[in-house]
Symmetry: C4
Subunit: 213 residues, 4 copies
């Protein structure tokens, strides 16, 4: 009777929403802080005066842009996961593992950021970065769909709210894909477009066309 077995461990494991949230918060906090590790301070021996330090800091500009982009990406994903988990009444092992898959994508982001920082002119680097964001989006979307299908959501969550959550992920991923596609014109242009879209999400305008995103 394999069903009894599944009851034995798989039905009792991974049910603690608080610990899933705590693990996520810790992992996001570390990923956000590690990003800054790729902002290397200028080599001391190469700097001889204030103007030299100024120029060296200016040359960090592209690295700083990718740092900002990844911090915004992490913030947007964190708010999204926080919002989604906040609507979940109880957790099971499948939801836990879907979220661990999401955290896997998050833990990869510092690597992808470093790649894009080291190879700012390479479409492949931006493509890898985009795949990383896509993986995060797929996992967060899958975990939300699963929570709905398995009736793990709080009873007060309406159909309209659930649809809004899904639409948000799809629209955001569509914008990321469009931004990433701009790399066929110019990689820097692509990064600028992604940061611009993210800024709209961060500011969260209350009216107008942008509020519909």
């Amino acid at each position: 009777m394999p069903d009894r077995q599944e009851l034995s461990y798989n039905r009792i494991s991974g049910q603690n929403l608080d610990r899933l949230a705590a693990l996520s918060d810790g992992l996001f906090a570390i990923a956000m802080t590690l990003l800054v590790f790729d902002l290397h301070t200028p080599v001391v021996a190469a700097i001889h005066d204030e103007a030299g330090l100024w120029r060296a800091l200016l040359r960090l500009g592209p690295h700083f842009a990718t740092f900002l982009m990844s911090f915004l990406t992490l913030g947007i994903f964190w708010v999204g996961q926080q919002t989604g988990l906040g609507m979940v009444a109880r957790c099971d092992r499948h939801l836990t593992w879907l979220n661990l898959g999401f955290l896997f994508a998050i833990s990869l982001l510092p690597f992808s950021t470093r790649l894009i920082g080291d190879f700012p002119d390479y479409r492949l680097a931006l493509g890898f970065y985009w795949l990383n964001i896509l993986l995060g989006g797929v996992m967060i979307y899958a975990s939300w769909r699963y929570a709905r299908a398995a009736r793990l959501l709080k009873p007060e969550i309406t159909e309209a709210t659930a649809c809004a959550m899904e639409r948000r992920v799809l629209v955001a991923q569509g914008l990321y894909a469009a931004g990433a596609a701009l790399c066929f014109i110019d990689v820097g242009f692509s990064i600028a477009a992604i940061i611009l879209v993210q800024m709209i999400y961060v500011i969260g305008p209350r009216t107008g066309f942008l509020a519909r995103l």
Copy 2:
């Protein structure tokens, strides 16, 4: 009267389950994120075009496989500890220290992963990695047995549940040992087998032979 002394500190220390869970979540989150530090981006000076970057990323494949294996190991251990601690009604110093021993094994895993990533063809590296997993299993098994023996479990935990917890650890460690033993044929084969077993645990099939694992 040594007994009064023990009451004084050892009976009052290490009783906070929430802080033990928080420490564990933090440590797991860091270990998961640090794994990616061994995914080094290709050296900039050695890459001259998109095709070169593509080949360099492909060469990261073995490192990526060990990264994935360790992330899955950490996820499985985390779910296991979360499930076990969730059945504990109260904590004492011995249970706390057994869990700290478990966290010791977890904190070593990034080192073991790095070792296997640097020496992918060495049986000794895989043996060290396996010993690390074994240490984690021994500590989690010991902490569960202690919690049962010291009557720290919640009253609603049945004998069947307790046995399922122990069987799970033993079966999992048996599979890890079998997977590790494959290194006498080929180390890469061994890693592939371990990832395969882990994937079965992650997906958690509901029926069939695999559900009994």
Copy 3:
């Protein structure tokens, strides 16, 4: 009707105060611990006896001073954010993002600290460090002002308390600016002045002129 859309996601996202606090605690904990990474142990090959190690440790003095200064900065900001969030009754997406902006400044501080440690005689390094502190102050001030304006504070928070919170940020930032301005005389003098002011905050004298700061 853009307003319905905003209700859909932006009105429901980012409302979990506990997770915002947990993310902040994790990020502060990491930033505090990473500071010590810039305290490099002396190079083994360059040390031949106890006296040589002693001299090498003494040469770490300036790095140790910036480490101490940044730890105090992080502590002061953490206490400030903890105090502010403790007065908030409920959270919304705008307050969440203002706090994420604050955490962005915090995550930058290890970089700024490294910069000042590597270039202890450069006014530009101290200026960058000061801008980082200023950004943190601006974000914490903005998040407090927003929480007041959007009526997110607990009902028991009086006008006097709210004003004290704001005055504290303004006075502290004024002292930081004055300390940083001393770098036009001497950068080391500037660092010493900042540490001195921070120590007053840490000790928190109950009476006299200093208690008014």
Copy 4:
């Protein structure tokens, strides 16, 4: 009226015990995990066969001993702080800052550990390490004494319990000092003695002379 001012910010700040605990758990988790960063895997180019890797791992022995010692130190301090804070009914800014001072000592420990790992034969390295442990002990002792004096403890905490807490810190610090003093004979002997004492604390014997420690 400076007293009104102090009421304004210093009386309202730093009162959240939960966030202090969360910051501490995060910082301990990171410090524990960072210790392993000083376990460097052998240089790939220098290893040519399994026997070579075996010898290289054996040479890591002293580093592994300091890693174990520091993990135990962190565990003992964490259990101590957890136990102490668990007896505190409410928190104020002074108790918060005393605990931040304690966390400062904890954040330094990876540096001290690295120092002793790099200079295993230097008394100065062991002396620095001991000073670090002493600082941690002084801060935890001061925070406990302050909590008692300021009547922040829970009403059920008896005089006997309070004395036991203090005696524990004093006895432990006495043993650390004695162990560190052994470095005047031999540094390795000193490390072995400290690990031995820590192991007694970890195991927590219930009877006999050792239970009185």
